[in-house]
């Protein structure tokens, strides 16, 4: 298996990959703007508990820390997969993508438990303005991570069946941008939602 560095790509294809990367980057930036709106909404609504549970009643520092650890580790393992991709080591790419998938899935399991536990306690999104804003913001991030997990599965399939071809490498690079971007959003979520809520 040749490495990405030795791959010969026609100038026209190279230009197409660069265009796709730029288009995807523009999507990520507009996604960041959507999250910014949700953060602004949350900050406006967080004080409006309507006599119901406040952030302190429903958040858990341990769970937020565990979710943070899983997402941060998955970002790093994706990086290891990206390095293996550059070296043309297909087995390693598959293995580290699988590890990234498991860490991301662990994050989703924790978040699903958190959401269902809150809804069972009567702290669902219909309880107060604070909870509507919380579920919208954190749920949108969770939805993105779920889409990322499906994307990782698709790419595991492509690496397995097609090998490390130039189009597959180009897609993996954009998946990496998406995955690291979601980790940045999570940094803002724990800094704006969980930590101030638990003080």
């Amino acid at each position: 298996m040749s490495s990405i560095a030795d791959m010969t790509i026609s100038p026209r294809d190279a230009e197409r990959y660069e265009e796709k990367d730029f288009g995807f980057w523009l999507y990520l930036m507009s996604d960041a703007v959507i999250f910014a709106c949700l953060f602004a909404t949350y900050l406006v609504m967080v004080g409006n508990a309507a006599g119901g549970p406040t952030p302190k009643d429903v958040f858990s520092l341990e769970r937020a820390a565990a979710e943070t650890a899983l997402l941060l580790l998955s970002s790093t393992t994706f990086g290891v997969a990206a390095v293996a991709l550059s070296a043309g080591e297909r087995g390693k790419v598959l293995m580290w993508l699988a590890v990234t998938f498991l860490l991301g899935a662990g994050f989703i399991v924790l978040e699903f438990g958190e959401f269902s536990g809150m809804i069972a306690e009567g702290a669902g999104p219909d309880r107060s303005g604070f909870l509507s804003a919380f579920f919208t913001l954190v749920g949108t991030h969770g939805f993105h991570v779920s889409v990322g997990l499906i994307w990782i599965l698709v790419m595991i399939g492509q690496v397995f069946f097609k090998g490390l071809t130039a189009p597959v490498a180009s897609r993996l690079m954009r998946l990496g941008l998406f995955w690291h971007f979601l980790d940045i959003i999570w940094v803002v979520i724990f800094s704006v939602v969980y930590l101030p809520g638990l003080m």
Binding site: I9, D21, L26, V33, F39, T41, V44, A169
Partner: protein, 106 residues
């Protein structure tokens, strides 16, 4: 990271390990502060905010490989524009809503 022919070439995992180490420190400090609860609320909030901004920059640099040499200029311009939009929308929303809140409470 070098970019030739539209595909990235990442030879070592070093940037990811540096990023991970910095991110762990920048995450452990705010979580520890909230768990201990020893600093005044205002101070803790400021520390959380400053460390979050630093951590975002760490992620951009070491995970997304944004720098001023290899990253195409149009990507940097789009990033800068998004930052401006975010500041206007978050800052503006909070300004308007909390101004309104205070006027209605008085």
């Amino acid at each position: 990271m070098e970019i030739k022919s539209g595909l990235p070439i990442e030879r070592t995992i070093k940037p990811y390990l540096i990023g991970l180490a910095l991110a762990v420190v920048l995450t452990a400090i705010p979580f520890g502060l909230v768990a201990a609860g020893s600093l005044p609320r205002q101070t803790t909030l400021i520390v959380i905010a400053v460390l979050a901004v630093i951590q975002i920059l760490v992620h951009l640099r070491f995970f997304l490989h944004i720098d001023f040499k290899t990253t195409p200029r149009e990507n940097l311009v789009a990033l800068a524009f998004a930052v401006v939009l975010i500041c206007i929308m978050v800052g503006g929303s909070l300004w308007i809503m909390f101004d309104l809140y205070h006027r209605m409470m008085v």
